[in-house]
């Protein structure tokens, strides 16, 4: 009996040392917007599959796409579509980059909850962010200077906002740049005159989302395209995914995975 216990103990130790060597490893890198979905999904996936070893990193959409093209990660997260120049580079390197839409995101335009403004038109928002309008009274609010909050240029949220809301126009030079969605929400929540934009999943209790072109951002309006500041969130792979990568992508797109995305504040596809 004693030798059987010792044998079991020895076998457990040996297996405990061997199994990690045979664990399937995967690296996910890229968008900080997609990061919470990737992290949560990886956590649940690994709890269901102890052989999986998934490492999740941020760095921005550009980093995610560059890494999948270079072959230094298995899944590249992005909150924007791959650019033509990136596709050209992938073509030269012989990479077959495949897009997987894993959720939708609405970019909510937020103001402090004490602000009496509840709606902005496309022109008004663009004029505020490009410097043509600097006082809330010019859009029906109180006579106070607008404090404009934006994201730094490495952010996919900034790129999407710049394309969808500003149509490529440059953000005013006195805008305060923040490094994350949380930082934008926090700043707007503390400053009654502030305006900012965040992914729907990053709303806080101190801010409210305004109607944009008469539409309130919600799951329905983002999915149907009625809310104009909606965008797909991507996981890019090199070719048709196989093995652990396929299993993970399938999990993220499954009802269980989509529920996780919804819990993180994004718009589920199912």
């Amino acid at each position: 009996m004693k030798s059987l216990r010792e044998s079991i103990l020895l076998a457990s130790i040996v297996l405990g040392l061997i199994v990690p060597c045979y664990a399937e490893k995967m690296i996910i890198e890229g968008s900080t917007t997609v990061l919470p979905i990737a992290q949560k999904a990886a956590e649940v996936f690994m709890s269901n599959d102890s052989a999986a070893d998934i490492s999740v990193r941020g760095g921005g959409s550009g980093v995610g796409i560059a890494s999948i093209i270079d072959g230094t990660c298995d899944i590249g997260d992005s909150s924007r579509s791959i650019k033509d120049g990136e596709l050209d580079r992938a073509a030269v390197l012989g990479r077959d980059i495949k897009a997987h839409v894993v959720a939708m995101d609405g970019i909510a335009v937020i103001v402090n909850k004490l602000n009496k403004i509840n709606a902005l038109s496309k022109k008004q928002l663009k004029d505020i962010y490009t410097g043509r309008i600097s006082n809330w009274k010019d859009v029906g609010g109180s006579d106070e200077k607008i404090v404009v909050i934006s994201r730094d240029s490495s952010s996919g949220t900034f790129e999407a906002f710049g394309t969808l809301a500003l149509e490529g126009a440059k953000v005013r030079s006195d805008a305060l740049m923040q490094a994350s969605n949380q930082a934008v929400a926090s700043t707007v929540g503390r400053a009654p005159q502030a305006i900012g934009y965040v992914g729907l999943g990053f709303m806080s209790g101190e801010v409210k989302a305004v109607e944009y072109e008469g539409v309130v951002p919600s799951k329905e309006t983002v999915l149907t395209g009625k809310y104009l500041l909606g965008r797909p969130l991507f996981m890019y792979t090199n070719g048709v995914p196989k093995g652990l990568v396929k299993e993970f992508i399938d999990f993220v797109k499954s009802p269980e995975g989509q529920k996780l995305a919804e819990e993180e504040g994004f718009v589920a596809l199912r």
Partner: protein, 433 residues
């Protein structure tokens, strides 16, 4: 069902992308909406099909562009640039005589880099120039053919082979470069204190690089450059051996540092004959027609970069850099040092309309600090024994085109007599492709 619908939508998008003229984009949206209305698809599934199909079509169009080209075209990159320059120079000679000159100049460069195979690249470039290793400029109407002019009266300009090299990368951390190389492939320096940026050295270089985690990487350049190869006499070849270890370190998301330490050994420099070409301006110590001293130099260099340095006070300036380098010629005990220091702020690269950058460099180079055929030829004619201020402002006019204004104010520091100050103003219009 999802796969069938995806194929139908993909066919529609491909047709649209090939330019078939019916309003298919709207009709595909209508089709997907009808399927949603009938409960065959959810809104989310429709959005997923539409977006993934758009991505697939974009990718196919991009691959189509490349697969229809011959392999050698796919593997070759062509680049070049044209610079038009107005130059004003005010010189006050040692005897007090002042001279003003105004000239128009241009520089045209064309190069190609071709992937021979997975591990081997070859690069060839041609440029305007007169043979001066430190310049690819030609001067409009330059009738002085003995000093490199093409004759004036709208004479045709000379084109020279600027570089021709091979780069072999057997491993991800190792490159072997040989031929007439680009200066960037030979070594790193934050200013042109020692090397004029137009120099394309000849010889071979080994480049090593290694990542030390997400925030740091180290590199090493080392090799041998051929300065002279006189096969007609028993004169020894002048070689420049160099070794340059360096490091890149990212302190955080916004602050990074790059540094290197270089050792140079110009073998057989002492007692070698100095050049007799018209571009050469002799300022090192000489014995007759030969160099009096050798050159064994050490040179530490550092560059410190901050992204968005003034964000806290609401100023949108992309980068701020502080840099400096020092040189000491160990082969001689006096007048053997030099340094440059400066700063730069604005956009890191001038890529589009409105991008701008200001750069300032202060440089001092004693008489025998470095060989006098190396330093920036615009800084007091490329001589040693100088002090100089330089300010450059650049402004983007659009994609691939910019203006620049570069002003030097330089003085002689050799001897105790007059400084012979010189002011050089260069207004450039740059275009690249």
């Amino acid at each position: 069902m999802m796969k069938f619908l995806t194929i139908v939508v993909l066919a529609g998008f491909i047709a649209l992308s090939l330019g078939i003229h019916f309003s298919y984009a709207g009709e595909v949206d209508v089709l997907l909406q009808k399927l949603v209305d009938k409960g065959i698809l959810t809104s989310g599934e429709a959005q997923e099909i539409k977006t993934e199909t758009q991505e697939q079509v974009k990718k196919e169009i991009s691959r189509g562009k490349y697969s229809s080209l011959p392999a050698w075209v796919q593997n070759t990159k062509i680049k070049g640039d044209l610079r038009l320059r107005y130059q004003y120079k005010n010189e006050k000679a040692i005897n007090g005589y002042a001279k003003d000159t105004q000239v128009g100049r241009l520089r045209a460069r064309l190069g190609l880099e071709s992937k021979i195979n997975e591990k081997l690249l070859a690069g060839i470039g041609i440029a305007t120039g007169s043979g001066d290793p430190r310049s690819t400029n030609v001067t409009f109407g330059d009738t002085n053919t003995s000093s490199g002019g093409d004759g004036g009266y709208s004479s045709k300009f000379s084109i020279r082979l600027d570089y021709a090299y091979a780069k072999y990368s057997p491993l991800s951390w190792l490159n072997l470069v040989g031929g007439k190389m680009l200066l960037n492939d030979t070594l790193w320096e934050p200013t042109d204190l020692i090397w004029d940026t137009d120099i394309t050295p000849e010889g071979g270089i080994i480049q090593l690089s290694k990542n030390l985690g997400p925030n740091a990487s180290v590199f090493m350049n080392g090799g041998a450059l051929i300065e002279t190869a006189d096969t007609s006499t028993n004169a020894d070849t002048m070689m420049a051996y160099l070794i340059q270890p360096g490091i890149n370190y990212k302190l955080n998301d916004t602050i990074s540092v790059k540094g290197a330490f270089t050792y140079y050994d110009f073998s057989n420099a002492k007692n070698s004959a100095f050049p007799t070409a018209s571009w050469y301006k002799s300022t090192n110590s000489k014995l007759g027609t030969n160099w009096q001293y050798g050159f064994r130099m050490i040179s530490p260099a550092l560059e410190f970069k901050v992204m968005q340095p003034f964000k806290a006070i609401g100023l949108d300036i992309e980068t701020f850099k502080l840099f400096g380098e020092y040189v000491n010629n160990l082969a001689v005990s006096a007048k053997n040092t030099g340094f440059s220091t400066g700063f730069q702020f604005g956009n890191d690269k001038i890529e589009k309309w409105g991008d701008w950058q200001f750069r300032y460099i202060y440089a001092m180079l004693e008489k025998d600090a470095v060989p006098d055929f190396l330093p920036d030829s615009d800084r007091y004619g490329g001589k040693t024994g100088i002090r100089s201020h330089e300010g450059i402002i650049s402004y983007g006019l659009g994609k691939n085109t910019s203006l620049a204004l570069d002003i030097y104010r330089s003085w002689n520091i050799i001897g105790t007599s007059t400084k012979a100050p010189e002011t050089l103003v260069q207004a450039d219009w740059n275009m690249k492709f």
